[in-house]
């Protein structure tokens, strides 16, 4: 059964159709990738899925319930958590307090919330930074904090918006096992990602969004070889040139 199902989602900003009839499904416990060139509408689609934007058309179902009209905090309560591409830390708070805000969703007592926040911090590798100010974290630290806060809400589905962007290769290598471990705990993940190394490594299934439309879907290997996908990234005729190039070689 699919945990998240989006059907024919569209979002119009004035004359621009940012997302045009996009559909996707995330199965229970699955790890699904969402890729696409810059400006494809990936982040807008995420906002539609998480309730930060209302769709102009289409519907979103989560765990069998129609949540299209629900605000983000209600979706969070149902078990949908998201991170932001542009990190949004509570800058004036410590790392512990930041994560505790997420943990309070399921634990109303302070002690429980703090304990749960600390456990999540360990899980994502922020254990040593718990007492530090969130504003003092490095880019990699802030990305981990985004992940930790979302995880602290004990979600069934994590929507990760480019958690690897801006990290150096060794930082990417460090965080991939963290994401895999989260998935192995049974949390379904839908990730927007440009770092193809991670997508190829982690995802069972990849959706490709270009110009607001879903142009391809399938296992990562198949999708990256799909001529439509190559053309979406590299331009018209690129697939043919690459094919010709490899034939010469």
């Amino acid at each position: 059964m699919s945990l998240l199902r989006a059907e024919g989602l569209s979002r119009r900003f004035g004359g621009l159709l940012a997302v045009d009839g996009a559909s996707l499904e995330v199965p229970e416990g699955g790890l699904i990738g969402l890729i696409g060139p810059n400006g494809a509408g990936k982040t807008t689609l995420f906002a539609l899925l998480s309730g930060f934007l209302a769709p102009s058309a289409g519907r979103v179902e989560f765990a069998g319930a129609d949540v299209t009209a629900e605000p983000p905090h209600r979706r969070a309560l149902r078990g949908m958590a998201r991170t932001f591409q542009i990190v949004q830390p509570f800058a004036g708070l410590t790392v512990r307090e930041n994560i505790a805000v997420g943990a309070y969703l399921r634990h109303s007592a302070r002690r429980e919330a703090i304990r749960s926040a600390e456990a999540v911090a360990e899980e994502v590798g922020l254990g040593p930074m718990l007492d530090g100010q969130a504003a003092a974290l490095t880019v990699a630290g802030r990305k981990r904090l985004e992940l930790a806060r979302a995880l602290a809400t004990e979600p069934r589905l994590l929507l990760l918006d480019e958690v690897l962007a801006g990290l150096n290769p060794s930082e990417v290598r460090d965080i991939i096992p963290v994401i895999r471990a989260i998935r192995e705990r049974g949390v379904a993940i839908l990730m927007i990602e440009h770092v193809m190394q991670a997508v190829m490594n982690l995802c069972d299934h990849v959706h490709v969004l270009a110009g607001g439309r879903m142009i391809a879907a399938g296992p990562p290997q198949a999708v990256t070889a799909d001529p439509r996908v190559i053309e979406a990234y590299l331009g018209h005729g690129a697939a043919a040139r690459i094919a010709a190039g490899s034939a010469h070689a």
Binding site: L77, Q88, F90, A91, V101, Y104, L105, S108, A152
Partner: protein, 321 residues
Amino acid sequence: MNPREVLPGLVLLAVIAVLPLVASNVVLNFLLSSLIVALAAQGWNLLGGYAGQLSFGHAAFFGTGAYATAVLQIRYGVNAWVGLAVGIALGAAVGWVIGALSFRARLRGSYFALVTLAFAEVLRILANAADFTGGASGLLIRLSPGVENLQFASRAAFLWLLASAVAAVLLLTAWIAHHRFGAHLVAVRENEDAARALGVDVLRTKLRAIALSGGVTAAAGCLYAQNFLYLDANIAYGTWISIEVLIACVLGGTGTVLGPVVGALALHGVGELAKLALGRVAGPVPGVDLVVFGALLILAVAFLPRGMMAGLQRLTRGLAR
């Protein structure tokens, strides 16, 4: 609750409570008016300091509390304690209404601040015009000392009542700061989108904050009315109180448990001293305390941007080293 956070405040209030045994009436009057501002500032701090919704119009709540107590007693013969309870409830209700109108319209930052100022000014003009509120001549509460009438023959007794009210809000604030509601307030202050993504109902959190804030500041208004037994629109709904609570919080430290109390005492202390000192030299100089308030605000923003509480913390940490 972290005892280290509230203990200094409670000790401070205990010291204030024993002062009547030794201090003169001048000092007691100073403490009374400072504590009324401190209580009102504690209300402001819950909304402005913790939830980050800056208000320029807390007079709306202060005045509502004051007028509720006075009007109920004078026009309807209601007991003053009941008047206090109703005043607090009305203050919270006014807060909720202002919040519902402005937060639903997604007003934030300076837009929200200006709207609160507008609400307070509208209430001031209405109270100044209506017969119900005594119009421009104001309201005089009949003098009848007695605990049952919430009037006290001795200033000391009133001071004890005020100090207990401030202590109660101190404990309430510390409790909130260490519970889920406090975490939600701070999350809303720091980043609304992030809070929303983590399951915080931002609108509800803000509405609770402004209602609570309105209730506390209204209590200060009620006690003001009971202490001075006279009020008019320019006192109850005047911008003076909106500004004093704001400066007290900024000076003491917004979003800290003790900030508003420390700030209010410091603000009034320096203001009174300036009046006294200049009075000796040049005779009475009306408005000199306002000049001092302005100077203090500038100094606080320039040198203690996070308030006296943060400054004290830095100092004690430096000394401990």
